[in-house]
């Protein structure tokens, strides 16, 4: 059990911070999380003040005679109503509004390959493997020049990446903790997600939906390149694909025609 030699200088709060945000939009989720948490802490402190404070001051020892009230006087109802309204207005409407704006302005604003630079990737999940497909030189999916990788996704910085995902067998979930997003991959339908990354490096891709015994091993590597490095990798991979893709290999034949 060598993992017990802990580094005492790192607190548990720091350990529990989410992994490095490498995306252009991850800060929206982190920001909303922090905001919600602040409000939760504020209201939880109020609950604790009431709970521990009243338990202390109104114990049998300190308060012999209880105050006989049904709590149905006008001022009681007013306090209750104000608390209910305050919680709803300050937390709920606020976070729902922020989330809705973020969805409409970012997460659901699907990049259009016709008008902007977009890298399209098809993803197929199966027990227990992630397969990724790039369109290749002809820009068409499901053709012989597609670049196909297994458990190995490579993307450039500075480009929006649009994924279309499906599953061969059971439901999986495409989770990139460093981007803060996940989306289920579902047999029989195509789901989609887009993100843009900023920081080159190597990161984890996980399956987040229980998918069988080896669910825990269904992980892939995400390599983020600078734009130049990515161009170089694509050029090499396309050449290799053209030379080595075997049209009779059933494992390569899963691409589908890209539809909007």
């Amino acid at each position: 059990m060598g993992f017990l030699n802990l580094n005492a200088s790192v607190s548990w709060w720091d350990l529990a911070k989410p992994p490095l945000d490498i995306s252009t939009n991850g800060h929206l989720i982190d920001g909303l999380w922090n905001y919600t948490t602040m409000l939760c802490i504020f209201y939880f402190i109020l609950v604790c003040i009431g709970l521990f404070g009243f338990a202390f001051f109104y114990s049998q020892k300190r308060n012999k005679t209880p105050y006989y009230t049904y709590g149905n006087k006008k001022k009681h109802l007013l306090v209750t109503a104000v608390i209910g309204a305050a919680v709803f207005l300050s937390i709920d409407l606020n976070i729902a509004r922020i989330a809705n704006n973020d969805l409409l302005n970012q997460f659901w604003k699907w990049p259009d390959p016709k008008t902007e630079k977009v890298l399209r990737v098809e993803v197929m999940a199966q027990q227990w493997l992630w397969s990724f497909r790039y369109a290749g030189p002809d820009d068409q999916f499901g053709t012989a020049d597609d670049v196909v990788t297994n458990n190995d996704l490579r993307v450039p910085t500075g480009t929006k990446i649009l994924f279309h995902l499906t599953s061969k067998d059971v439901i999986h979930s495409f989770f990139v903790p460093n981007v803060r997003l996940k989306v289920d991959t579902i047999p029989g339908r195509i789901t989609r997600v887009w993100w843009e990354v900023t920081t080159p490096g190597v990161y984890d891709i996980a399956c987040a939906e229980m998918c069988g015994t080896h669910h825990y091993l269904m992980k892939a590597k995400l390599t983020v390149y600078s734009e130049e490095d990515f161009k170089r990798w694509v050029a090499t991979s396309e050449k290799i694909a053209l030379n080595t893709n075997d049209p009779s290999d059933a494992n390569l034949a899963w691409g589908w025609k890209w539809e909007k």
């Binding site: 993992f3 350990l15 529990a16 005679t65 009230t69 709590g71 109802l77 059971v170 789901t191 229980m210």
Partner: protein, 576 residues
């Protein structure tokens, strides 16, 4: 109200008819209690095996390991791990919480607290327990199959739960067990609803019922409506598995036509979201009553609390889609479910205001039922508030299927319900068995549960936010998660501690059954109807059906002249 079917049933004479095939709601309640406590222990041991694996992957389990997993040298193998978390969830929800909170307290409290001699349908009641028994039996048999029990998570999403992902018969038996459980629950629910409506004592209006009865009644209504939906869902799943239909099949294996796996998720969560309220409503009711009883003052805003419970029950039917944000429903559905989910905050805030209002200016006795009730306010605060992060779509896209979710629903469904259940057991034990429980052991049990419990579930929130996802056998195959090992060890240590302190409860329970001090008819000095009769009550509960003249929380009235600080519900209300 009055005039219902409320005659005295002849007392059973044989052992068989008294304790086994019993029609008496008090005996059935105890049957459900023993049944629930047995499964609580089983589910708890499974939880400890899961926790051990997560903190010390690859290390043999002490004591149990060599007995259960001798083939792998005492280490939990990955397929067994999946079965363990599937069975842990299933057992805790359907076979531990439901029988204790609904089966035991529902059966025990409803007739006694509304002044009835038995349930409206005693035979249905008996069948409800024996169907639950059968269901539990099927579930336990499924653990002994060659390919093992179900292993697709307690949610059993297809297509993993179809033959594509789970070829063993364990999953089929799981479906059968859940279907039988549904039959049992529905019978119980119909019975509870009818009993509350027709058998209330003369003079008892709906707002004169204790809030415990409100909670149990609303739970029964939700149960009667939504458990059959789950029944239908698992029935279709059985057809898919056994008869070759394709309701939930799609993808490469759906060679004879394609259904839709997401359909099951809709069916499941239409049931599943009300289910979490089905589990928590009885605990809310119990806590609302006990806070008043032990503060020696009326429940603050009792009517508002009852109405807030009602509105939560209604809202719970409209928000289930927040379990499915990552499946990409249409944007309109996603936005609607997010907004509707948020509205649940309003009645929840009213609960908290009223709970705190109840202890405000009270004269609080810290007996064990009160400690557990105050504990519920604390843990439900944490559980409820962390729900906000998950009801919001964008944060949910990160947190969904991580341990943050696990921490959240354990705070609400496990911690709150468990503490509420213990509060109820300590409170009604004298009435049920005619003996007092040992108060010192009860207090040790409280602190030994409360402190590690927060270590477990707060730790889960932390590792979840850190990015650790659910249902993974060995999280540390991900290098980025290895930093969370110390927190995971802390959670496991807390879990073992909490498990150990439950032994105190079991000892107290069994010891008190035999040696506890004899309970008087009203040891807590409260005025609801069950405390007007001897402990334990006679077979037909009430020699004369009581007539109710005031509410359930008449405590601390300064004008009382009878030497007590409370009034029985059968007494004329003394004006303050």
């Amino acid at each position: 109200m009055s005039g219902g079917y409320n005659e005295i049933h002849p007392e059973p004479t044989t052992f068989w008819s008294t304790y086994i095939i019993s029609f008496d709601h008090k005996v059935i309640a105890k049957q459900f209690l023993w049944y629930g406590i047995f499964f609580l222990g089983l589910g708890g041991i499974m939880a400890l095996l899961i926790r051990w694996t997560l903190a010390y992957p690859g290390v043999p389990v002490p004591v149990l390991g060599s007995l259960l997993f001798s083939d792998s040298g005492g280490v939990v193998p990955p397929d067994t791990y999946s079965m363990l978390f599937t069975m842990h969830g299933t057992i805790m929800i359907f076979y531990a919480i439901t029988p204790i909170l609904i089966g035991a307290f529902g059966n025990y409290c409803i007739p006694l607290q509304i002044g009835a001699r038995d349930m409206a349908f005693p035979m249905l009641n008996m069948l409800s327990f024996w169907f639950a028994f059968l269901s539990g039996l099927v579930l336990i048999i499924s653990l002994c199959l060659p390919l093992g029990a179900a292993a697709g998570g307690w949610t059993s999403y297809p297509t993993l739960s179809t033959l594509i992902g789970s070829p063993g018969a364990g999953q089929t038996l799981w479906c059968v067990a859940i279907f039988l459980f549904g039959v049992s629950s529905t019978m119980g629910a119909v019975n509870y609803v009818t009993t509350v409506i027709t058998l209330r004592a003369p003079g008892m209006g709906y707002f004169d019922m204790p809030l415990t009865i409100w909670g149990l009644w609303l739970t029964a209504i939700l149960n009667a409506i939504f458990v059959p939906v789950l029944g239908a869902g698992v029935l279709l799943l059985i057809l898919d598995r056994v008869m070759g239909t394709t309701f939930f099949l799609a993808g490469a294996s759906a060679t004879s036509g394609s259904g839709d796996p997401v359909l099951f998720q809709h069916v499941f969560w239409i049931f599943g979201h009300p289910e979490v309220y089905i589990l928590i409503l009885p605990a809310w009711g119990i806590v609302s009553d006990l806070l008043s009883f032990f503060s020696r003052k009326p429940a603050f805003g009792a009517k508002a609390t009852a109405l807030a419970m009602t509105s939560v029950s209604i809202l719970s039917t409209l928000v289930y889609g927040h379990h499915m944000f990552t499946t990409q429903m249409s944007p309109l559905l996603t936005q609607s479910f997010m907004t509707l989910t948020m509205t649940i905050s309003i009645p929840s805030a009213i609960f908290f205001a009223n709970w705190l209002g109840t202890i405000w200016k009270g004269s609080i006795r810290f007996d064990s039922p009160m400690l557990f009730s105050l504990g519920v306010v604390f843990v439900f605060g944490l559980g409820g508030l962390t729900g906000l992060h998950l009801g919001t779509v964008t944060t949910d896209l990160y947190l969904h299927d991580t341990y943050f979710v696990v921490g959240h629903f354990h705070y609400t469904m496990a911690a709150s319900v468990l503490l509420g259940g213990f509060a109820g057991i300590y409170f009604w034990f004298p009435k049920m068995f005619g003996k007092m429980m040992n108060e010192t052991m009860a207090k040790i049990h409280f602190w030994g549960t409360m402190i590690p419990l927060n270590g477990i579930f707060f730790g889960m929130l932390m590792v979840g936010y850190g990015g650790m996802h659910r249902r993974i056998y060995n999280p540390f195959v991900y290098e980025s998660l290895q930093r969370l090992i110390p927190i995971n060890s802390m959670i496991t240590t807390s879990a073992i501690l909490m498990g150990a302190f439950q032994i105190v409860f079991v000892i107290n329970f069994l010891w008190s059954l035999k040696n506890g001090a004899k309970a008087v008819s009203n040891p807590w000095n409260v005025g609801t109807l069950e405390w007007t009769i001897p402990s334990p009550p006679v077979h037909h509960n009430y020699d004369e059906i009581p007539v109710v003249k005031c509410g359930p929380h008449e405590l601390g009235n300064p004008n009382l002249k009878n030497g007590r600080d409370f009034q029985y519900q059968t007494e004329e209300l003394v004006e303050a």
